[in-house]
């Protein structure tokens, strides 16, 4: 008998506590490769904490986080990024005073080879790599519709453009798992439609996506499965339609009705 294939990505019985505050409690979920999953829940449910647990900003108090069968427990954030997990941030964290192009090129850091000596001497190898990465960064800017803003500093871009630039920067590392933290926040309806198309194209290129989002239209339109958190616990999981009808979810969002 063969051992079962390890899950593409899995959280198993993860608990994350800060002193007495339990931010995430006994959370388990697995992702299939190339799936697109939403993590929803009311404010303070622990959604962003889950992302921070995955990228190594926080450490699980107990339980395991594994990616391709490999535990992430002992890895630093930069090592986890190098494994192919990229993310965007709820409160945009671009390199504000670097150009859009440099932001995306920085996103490629983990996949670049140039050593300190290469950087110091600008060896032919280093020049070739820089050219290649710059070209790829331009492609990614085109992919998210920012090719005209390549030379602009990130902080000069509009809010919606900044969100898309964060996605381009995350894609620069050729991730296999992409974590999007409220990508539609602050976007107008048209930008949201563009975002949905963009996320679908990213997914079509073979990337697995986890989405934290408040916009239900976006979640219902994009995701096959939804996991609902409330106060750090998973209260429901399933297809969007199933989750939407779940009384516990309604209660978590709207409050319990009086008996």
């Amino acid at each position: 008998m063969r051992a079962p294939e390890p899950a593409f990505f899995e959280l198993r019985n993860v608990r994350c506590a800060f002193g007495g505050l339990v931010a995430v409690d006994d959370l388990s979920f697995a992702l299939e490769q190339n799936s697109i999953v939403a993590l929803i829940g009311p404010n303070g449910a622990g959604k962003s904490t889950v992302f921070n647990l995955i990228t190594g900003i926080y450490r699980a108090t107990s339980g395991t986080v594994s990616f391709g069968g490999r535990s992430l427990a002992k890895l630093g954030t930069h090592q986890i990024a190098a494994l192919g997990i990229a993310r965007t941030f709820q409160n945009i964290r671009l390199f504000a005073f670097m150009s859009a192009l440099d932001n995306v090129m920085t996103g490629r850091h983990a996949r670049m080879q140039a050593s300190l000596a290469d950087s110091l001497l600008h060896t032919p190898r280093q020049r070739r790599e820089e050219r290649r990465v710059r070209e790829r960064a331009r492609e990614l800017l085109r992919f998210v519709g920012l090719e005209r803003s390549a030379g602009d500093d990130a902080h000069n871009l509009s809010y919606g453009s900044q969100r898309r630039l964060e996605i381009a920067r995350a894609l620069a590392s050729s991730p296999t798992l992409l974590l999007l933290d409220e990508p539609a926040a602050g976007m107008n309806p048209r930008e949201k439609d563009d975002l949905i198309a963009l996320v679908e194209r990213i997914r079509a290129s073979g990337v697995t996506i986890v989405l934290v989002e408040h916009d239900m239209k976006l979640v219902m339109g994009l995701c096959e499965r939804v996991t609902v958190l409330d106060q750090g616990r998973k209260i429901a999981e399933g297809t969007p339609a199933h989750v939407r009808a779940d009384p516990r979810v309604i209660e978590a969002y709207l409050g319990a009705s009086d008996p």
Binding site: H78, A96, T106, H109, D118, S119
Partner: protein
């Protein structure tokens, strides 16, 4: 773009030609001597710019690496221990030794930023000269080490003219500029900038903040190791009092004056301050003396003048004489966009909390 390249090459060629003929055109050895010393400080400023300007790590004890470079030459190339390592080899050795100490200082301070880092580096800057002072059996304490080996090229010793040193320093600066600019436009340079802007996001890009910061400390220190060797060989003497806190502040002032993060600005800033320091103030004092004001010695007002210059800069050109475009944008944004400034502030506090 295409049309500008030859123009730029021409300008650079002209500048190089002028710099190369200076010692022939100007027979006043004092002038060449001044330029050679100023050149050593250009090297120091280029090095500190890597640490502070590129990587954003505030270092208030940078003179310590200058001391380490100078003492390396004094120990390995003098009668002190009977070691006579050639000058040209010592340039590399001292760069390596200083880089090693850069890593030693960097390693325990990796988690610190801003003012906390500044205080630790300040302490390091005080400890190093004190150590050289107190290891009297090796370093002759306050008397320092003298009679250092004279460098020689193709068997011809440099002698007591400043001219050969001028050319050496000029060559080192040229190499330093190429190195600094290469670093700035490279994978490592982008990593430094990213860390400076947002360390947490940088780590999510796969940037190893630890090695990136340590490389900044090491490379910055290597520059001052090289500068220390050239400076010590030219002066023929090292003593602990040459590397005090005022030297660290002087180099940092050169960066602030010229424009932190911009290689050209840093060079201009260091030349201006060297000129004020070693030329303008003594000349002004001479003039005052001959005019009968014998009690006036402007060199004593050096630090007051730095203070005036820096305050003036903050008011008139806060990003420096030749600011990097990025710095200027940052400062302008901070002044005109309170939301962004507030964001920077929380970043800063967040970094402290970690």
């Amino acid at each position: 773009m295409k049309g500008r390249k030859p123009v730029r090459a021409l300008r650079l060629g002209l500048l190089a030609a002028v710099l190369l003929v200076v010692p022939f055109a100007d027979h006043n050895n004092a002038h060449v001597d001044f330029l050679a010393n100023a050149g050593a400080f250009v090297l120091l400023a280029l090095g500190l710019n890597i640490v502070v300007g590129f990587a954003g790590l505030l270092d208030l004890g940078y003179a310590a690496f200058f001391a380490i470079g100078s003492y390396s030459y004094a120990i390995f190339a003098s009668q002190q221990f009977g070691l006579h390592v050639p000058f040209w080899i010592m340039l590399f050795v001292a760069a390596a030794i200083a880089a090693l100490f850069g890593i030693l200082l960097g390693a325990p301070t990796l988690r610190l930023r801003g003012d906390y880092l500044a205080i630790v580096t300040l302490g390091f800057g005080e400890i190093v000269p004190q150590t050289f002072l107190n290891l009297a059996q090796y370093t002759n304490g306050p008397n320092g080490i003298g009679s250092l080996d004279q460098p020689s090229l193709f068997g011809r010793p440099f002698g007591f003219s400043a001219t050969p040193y001028y050319y050496v320093v000029l060559g080192l600066i040229a190499l330093g500029i190429v190195a600094a600019r290469n670093l700035q436009h490279s994978r490592l340079g982008r990593a430094w900038m990213a860390i400076r802007e947002d360390e947490l996001a940088a780590r999510h890009m796969g940037i190893n903040a630890t090695t990136a910061k340590l490389s900044a400390f090491a490379l910055g220190a290597a520059f001052s190791g090289v500068a220390g060797v050239a400076y010590a060989a030219k002066l023929d003497l090292v003593s602990p009092d040459q590397f005090g806190f005022n030297v660290s502040v002087l180099i940092l002032s050169m960066l602030v004056l010229g424009g932190m993060g911009n290689v050209a600005g840093v060079i201009v800033g260091s030349l201006v301050l060297s000129f004020v320091n070693s030329f303008l103030l003594p000349q002004a004092s001479n003039i005052a003396h001959t005019a009968g004001f014998t009690y006036l010695d402007f060199t004593n007002y050096r630090f007051m003048l730095y203070g005036v210059i820096l305050v003036g800069m903050m008011l008139l050109r806060p990003a420096g004489l030749l600011p990097s475009a990025k710095r200027r944008a940052e400062l302008e944004a901070a002044l005109t966009d309170p939301a962004l400034a507030a964001h920077e502030q929380t970043e800063y506090e967040g970094a402290h909390a970690r």
